[in-house]
């Protein structure tokens, strides 16, 4: 590509030879991983990949557009329940359920986003919290109506005679989906939409003075983010072969919010790091709990809650830039995307 104009080079995602080499190494490592990892490690990798889709979606909304949402668990649940209901009621295949989940996500994003036209900051967070409870209620109501006390079982998706069930196959599917989410995020950030969102985040009045259609871009942020989240929820349903409304508690929302805080607000790489951190954290606690007296070993989840609360507090108090902020300060993340100044208000 020696003939590339300077503009084409500027716009290329991998502009320099070094970037291309690094990308090739990372890709090779990601492809090789399922062949060297133990089944347990592979399951962890799958969980991280799945979480990274939701974390990227929330980062687009909160980190880029500055719109606060406490609705992630509700949206994940909505996606998962779309799969559950469609599979159970009409036996729909995945190529029906996934687009349906995406469509429902976009519609819910519009609904979740409508309050943002009148409300800012805290009040917006509260209205999305209210919608969370509505979605969870509807899911619980469906379970109660259809006398499913425990949840909905879902078969693995299949194409022709081949069924997607092995961890290794799931790894590549989830890798493809999270790569797609990453590509969407990176590209949105670089386009007019991303710049409009950043203007909104800093000050929406100035943004409107600059000719940015504030309402349109706010709703768009909610819809893009909610669509990605709902698709992640649908994948979650197939991945676990099971949907139960208990999985979509407020704690799940807090975990996703923690991912973007701990990773580093306003950074795409931060969303990925944060997803890894939050998913692996309970396993680290479990490993540590093995050395503690049995009294604590019996309530590992409580220990996990407490430790998670402490870690979140420490990041908020001491390192608002998150893991990316730490990396940048120590110099290893020089080329990472720039973080914004902490948390948008």
């Amino acid at each position: 590509m020696s003939d590339g104009s300077s503009h084409a080079r500027e716009m290329a995602l991998l502009g320099t030879p070094r970037a291309r080499v690094r990308f090739a190494i990372a890709l090779a490592a990601l492809v090789a991983l399922p062949f060297v990892a133990t089944p347990f490690q592979l399951d962890l990798a799958n969980q991280v990949l799945l979480a990274s889709i939701g974390a990227l979606a929330l980062m687009l909304l909160t980190g880029f557009a500055g719109l606060i949402s406490l609705g992630t668990a509700g949206l994940l649940g909505a996606g998962a329940y779309t799969v559950g209901v469609l599979v159970r009621e009409i036996g729909a295949p995945f190529w029906v359920t996934l687009p349906a989940a995406a469509a429902l996500g976009a519609a819910l994003g519009l609904v979740f986003g409508l309050p943002s036209l009148r409300l800012r900051g805290l009040y917006l967070a509260i209205s999305t919290l209210g919608l969370h409870f509505v979605v969870v209620y509807l899911g619980g109501e469906y379970e109660a109506r259809s006398t499913l006390s425990t949840g909905v079982m879902i078969d693995s998706p299949s194409i022709g005679g081949w069924t997607l069930s092995s961890s290794r196959a799931w790894y590549f599917v989830l890798l493809a989906f999270s790569a797609l989410a990453l590509l969407v995020s990176v590209n949105l950030q670089r386009t007019r939409t991303g710049r409009a969102w950043r203007a909104l985040r800093e000050r929406d009045i100035v943004a409107s003075a600059l000719g940015i259609d504030v309402q349109r871009f706010k709703l768009m942020a909610f819809m893009v983010s909610a669509t990605m989240t709902a698709v992640a929820g649908a994948l979650f349903a197939y991945f676990r072969n099971f949907v139960s409304i208990d999985a979509f508690s407020l704690y799940l929302t807090v975990q996703y919010v923690a991912m973007i805080i701990i990773g580093g607000m306003g950074s795409i790489a931060g969303a990925l790091l944060g997803a890894g951190f939050v998913i692996l954290f309970p396993y680290a606690i479990e490993a540590i709990a093995g050395y503690l007296p049995a009294r604590f070993g019996n309530t590992v989840f409580a220990l996990d809650y407490a430790a998670f609360g402490v870690v979140m507090i420490l990041f908020l108090l001491l390192e608002p830039g998150g893991l990316i902020g730490i990396l940048q300060r120590t110099g290893r993340g020089k080329n990472g995307s720039k973080t914004s100044s902490g948390i948008a208000s």
Binding site: Y123, V136, V257, G309, L317, S345
Partner: protein, 292 residues
Amino acid sequence: MSLQLVANVVVLTAIYALVSTGYVLVYRVSRVLNLAHGELMMVGAYLLVATAGMFSGDPLLALLLAAICGLVMGIVVYVVLMRWMTGEAVLAAVLITIALGILLRGLSILIWTTQQFYPAAIFGWHNPPVKVAPGVQISAASLAMVVLTIVVYGGLFIFLQFTRWGVRMRAAGQNPLLAEQRGIRLHGVYAFAWGLSTFTAALAGMLLALDSGVESTMATIGLKAFPAALVGGLDSLLGAAIGSAIVAAAEIAAIQYVNPLLSDVVPFVVLLIVLAIRPWGLFGSREQLDRV
């Protein structure tokens, strides 16, 4: 609507009203939304379990001691945690309270497990039903909750309106800069507001525990009181009381006439309606909206 139903609404109103004072106090003074309030209420209830174990023969002493611990708890939370968030983005402060809530939830399970405790049983008290009108019964602890809520509202009104610290608190809420220049120590006022907030929350938690026991899910009740505070207007005590009545009536009606599963969602539906029509609440001041 039977009289018994009215009595149920009054009791639930009292619960929400007592808990929502804490949201209002902290928000009015420092513009912080405390999403750990439900957990703090639950810890208040557990404090009673702890003091009841020590002074099972003297319920009043146990109650008093637990209430004082509740007051101290709020001051400690402010001094250790929230003090550092003064002047930070409002959202960061809210996220800190969410993290605190998770921490408290984990700690309380580590200390008290997930088992249900009945402090009333430790005192050997049976919480007898009381006849408040012909054919209408509520438990003694519920009656105490209603009375206590009225007392607390009266006390807070006198405190905020007429006492020196109350005036300071209102001044700090209205204009922190001016208040500080007039020699009011903001950190002291904020810490005191947090203490009062957890004090009232602990009272509510203790009475709920006396009525129906305490377990790790009690924090949900505290979160459901939040819509009540917001419906009334986050910076108005009178609004909190009326918002509590609205939310409680809607909730009881939904449980009675529609579907018991609606219990958890109705307060938030009311909240969404209010946010759509009148985001600053029934009695809140309108200027607050742009500050958040």
